[in-house]
Amino acid sequence: MTTRMVEVRAKVLKQNDLLAHALREQFQRSGTCVVGLVSSPGSGKTAFLEKLLARLAREYRVAALVGDLATENDAARLLRATPNVKQITTGTICHLDAQMIQQALESWNLGPVDFLFIENVGNLVCPSSYDLGEELRFVLLSATEGEDKPLKYPTIFNSSDVAVITKMDLAEAAEFDIAAARRNIEGVRPGMQILEVSSKTGQGMEHVVALLQAQRTRSRQAVAAAT
């Protein structure tokens, strides 16, 4: 049987990318700074977010979307910081995609917010392929996980904008080599901004807040200049 070749040249995740692009524009128009959080399970995303939301809520309108395979435990924890929390339970899916974000927003009567955080499913592989329309992506790495995580999962570190090293209060006990961790992150994503925090003691949280405030100011200026 003879065959012929038909050129296609189409991105497999084109639909997701288009949707993410539309979401990004929508967030820009509404003046919402959207931050995605990715990490392995147990690196402290929820504890970090809980503290961050509580701090930001003093000055800003904040909200969070949390993805998990099962349970609504994370949402319940974040509700202590803000009433604007929605859980996305993905079932067996190991990552969030743009469609899940769109659907969650459609069915959520959320008023205008300054910061929206999207906590991905704990996974350092799958979320890297899916753009969610976020303005910044934070990748979290806990001091107890070891300094070589970036080397093992270069794709997700490279697809993120800021690295946050969590559980710094345990760094000494875990013999965490911070210089090596920084070097490894730099190797995988040259020039990446790195923040060291402890959600427990509050160490470094002010730098996270300052970074987010600066980002918000920058994007609002960019939108103002464009209109």
Partner: protein
């Protein structure tokens, strides 16, 4: 393991493409897959076969071309393979590179169809 999600997206897209061209009988799908895409080649091949069942692509082959990771060196301005996937720097200049030229692709290049 998000390869099943990737396979399903890919199949939906190809079925649509084939219908828009008057119904192609697809024998094989040629995919360009970057080594830095976060998608595993073997897992995708496995997922593809499963996901094809019950679709017009059932029985078709998936041919994957691996695309290497190439960076643009900010110093010598050459496109180079970096030292490794976790040391994104030019092997000659030893300068870190932020620009990835290839390696992130997940792209259907072409379809092999019955003539």
């Amino acid at each position: 393991m998000h390869e099943l999600s990737i396979a399903i997206s890919m199949i939906e897209q190809i079925v649509e493409e084939s219908e828009s061209r008057g119904g192609l009988e697809v024998e094989a799908v040629h995919l360009r897959l970057g080594v830095f895409s976060g998608v595993d080649k073997h897992a995708l091949l496995f997922a593809y076969e499963l996901a094809c069942e019950g679709t017009p692509l059932a029985g078709s082959r998936l041919e994957i071309e691996s695309i290497p990771l190439i960076i643009l060196c900010p110093q010598c301005k050459q496109q180079r393979a970096p030292l490794s996937s976790y040391q994104l720097c030019c092997p000659d200049c030893m300068v870190p590179a932020q620009d990835i030229v290839t390696g992130r692709e997940i792209e259907v290049a072409s379809l092999e169809v019955a003539a």
